[in-house]
Symmetry: C2
Subunit: 180 residues, 2 copies
């Protein structure tokens, strides 16, 4: 991403946090990660992330989603004998999030997937997260999510963060962000 | 504590969460832990806690503090070879928190300690947490904290929660809550 686009996305995310009444520091705003997954289509696919704490034992992030923005389907695989893979809890703070996990398919899912990308989304059990609702995903379980029409703020609590080992359904995805 | 007093404290904490714009579910309100540490003096010593998630790997809580309420001095000791003790991150969401840790004593501390209890507070390095500020405590480090005049909401992110192993300065403290 171009630095100019990163700054623009950070500003949009900051406005959503303000609507949600969530305080961040100026340093957290400047360091906010804008992940477009290498797809170059941030309005449809992306995450804005503030990592509050990441150490060898636990991790806490705030995730800001633009309206209808999608975090694509992925899972957190087994790492080694000491680490069965990342376990994570998503708690909706503001807006609404449609979370999809492996399981019984929703008859009338509330999420919209961009035309032509349907094959990239196989997890179809729907969990609707309104403010105060949360859901914990065990390691290895496929999932993806989309914000509702206003965007959303989602707190993530987890075991050690290991973005680099995530397994994405879409082979075009590059999780490690680059600024040109 | 009497159930009636627990319900009253839960109602007060709920009002602070509402001022902070933090959504919780009705079940979270009803299950909110009111910890008076067995001291029977909740206006001075206590914590109101919603445990969002507690598993073998990580823990996330929301802590609500009444105006000038104190969480007494304690530390999280070594557990065993696999667990060096609880590590925790405190992030202020609303109000102000005066956090004290082992280190250089503040010349003019902002906290008030109830008269006669001064010897129960030895950690004197002061960290002021306004909304958006946070601080991570390594295992074993003595600490205590007090909310400012309006009360406060503090998110706690940590490794596995082990309240029962905490070591409290005041030998009268009983961490495990009881309802009469």
């Amino acid at each position: 991403m171009k630095l100019e686009d990163v700054r623009k996305a950070q500003g949009r995310a900051e406005a959503i946090l303000a609507r949600a009444g969530i305080a961040i520091t100026p340093g957290e705003k400047d360091g906010m990660e804008i992940a477009d997954f290498g797809l170059g289509d941030l309005d449809h696919y992306g995450l804005q992330v503030i990592v509050y704490e990441a150490n060898d034992r636990y991790c806490a992030k705030e995730i800001i989603l633009f309206p209808r923005q999608i975090c694509p389907e992925h899972q957190h695989p087994l790492v080694d004998a000491a680490n069965p893979g990342k376990q994570e809890t998503f708690r909706c703070r503001w807006g609404v999030v449609y979370l999809y996990v492996e399981g019984e398919a929703a008859a009338h899912p509330r999420a919209f997937v961009p035309k032509g990308d349907e094959a990239l989304f196989t997890a179809r059990q729907e969990i609707v997260l309104n403010p105060g609702d949360q859901y914990t995903l065990p390691p290895g379980r496929l999932h993806w999510f989309q914000a509702g029409d206003e965007g959303a703020v989602l707190s993530e609590f987890s075991s050690k963060n290991l973005d680099e080992t995530d397994v994405w359904r879409n082979p075009q995805i590059k999780r490690i962000p680059t600024i040109e």
